[in-house]
Subunit: 123 residues, 2 copies
DNA sequence: AAAATTTATGCAACTTAGTCGCAAAGGATC
DNA sequence: GATCCTTTGCGACTAAGTTGCATAAATTTT
C-alpha cells in the first residue's frame, strides 16, 4: 500500500514525506472526491492546512491529483485516473462518480460535473 | 425590454424594483454566465453587494436564475432556460455554452459543467 | 559526522467572495 | 399623514484557502 504511494511520488519527482503519504493514502482509499475537511477527518494525524494545501498544489502540478469546486465554496480532490463524471446532489450533497459518453467535443475535456437531484432525492 | 423583465417578476410574485431590474437586464443581455463582478461592471449604476446577492437568492428560489461555481471560488449566474452545458476553459477562463447529449441518467440533472482546455487553448 | 544548504512543516496573520444584523429609505395601506 | 412592510446600503463578520516567516527535518558538502 505504502509502496504504491511511494512509487507514485518517485515517478513524479516528489519527495516522499509523512504529510504527503498521509494525504495520498486517504485519497487512494476514497471512492469519490473529498474536501480538505473530509480528508483531515480520515487522516488520524494532525496536519496544518497550509501543509495540506501546499502539498495538494504540488500533486496537482505533477498531475497526480485533480480538484474541482462543488457548489459549497470548497475544493474537492481526487487522484487522477480514468476521466469520469461527477454527479453532485444539490440536496444531500453526495458526490458520486459515473461514466458518461459525451460524443465528440472540440478541445480537451478534463472533468465533467453534473448537478441536480440524485436518484434518492428525486423521488 | 423592460416590460419582459417586469413580466418575469410578476409571473413569479416578485416585486419589480430598480435593483432587480438592473440585475435582470444584464443577465438577459448576456450570452453566458456572469459573476457578480462582471454583472456589476455592466450595470452602469452602483449597487451594494448585499442587495445584489439577496436579490439573486430571491431569483434562484423563484427559479428565474441558476448559479454555479467555476473553479475560481466565484459564483456565476445566468437566467434559467434551456438546460445546457457549460464549458469552462482552465486556461483562458472563458465560459461557453453548449448542447450535450448525456443519454439516460437516473435522478434529475439541472446543470452540466465541463472543464478542460477550449478549442483555442488546446492547440 | 559536524557544518552548511536545501526543503518541508507549522503557526499566525492575511485575503476575499459572499453573508448577516441593523438602521434608514421607499412604497403600500388605512 | 401615520403605520406597516419590504427593500436597500453600510459595516461588521465568516470561513476556505493563501502567504510570510521561523523552526524542523533532510540532504549535501567539507
Amino acid at each position: 500500500m505504502n509502496e504504491q504511494i511511494q512509487a507514485l511520488c518517485n515517478d513524479h519527482n516528489i519527495k516522499f514525506t509523512t504529510a504527503r503519504s498521509l494525504i495520498l493514502e486517504v485519497l487512494k482509499a476514497a471512492s469519490h472526491p473529498l474536501s480538505y475537511e473530509q480528508i483531515k477527518e480520515k487522516m488520524h494525524a494532525s496536519m496544518d492546512k497550509a501543509t495540506f494545501y501546499r502539498n495538494i498544489a504540488l500533486f496537482e502540478e505533477a498531475g497526480i491529483v485533480h480538484k474541482f469546486e462543488s457548489d459549497d465554496r470548497k475544493w474537492y480532490f481526487e487522484l487522477t485516473g480514468t476521466t469520469h463524471a461527477h454527479f453532485i446532489c444539490e440536496q444531500c450533497r453526495q458526490i458520486t462518480c459515473m461514466e458518461v459518453d459525451l460524443g465528440k467535443i472540440e478541445g480537451e475535456v478534463k472533468s465533467i460535473v453534473l448537478k441536480g437531484l440524485c436518484k434518492e432525492c428525486h423521488k
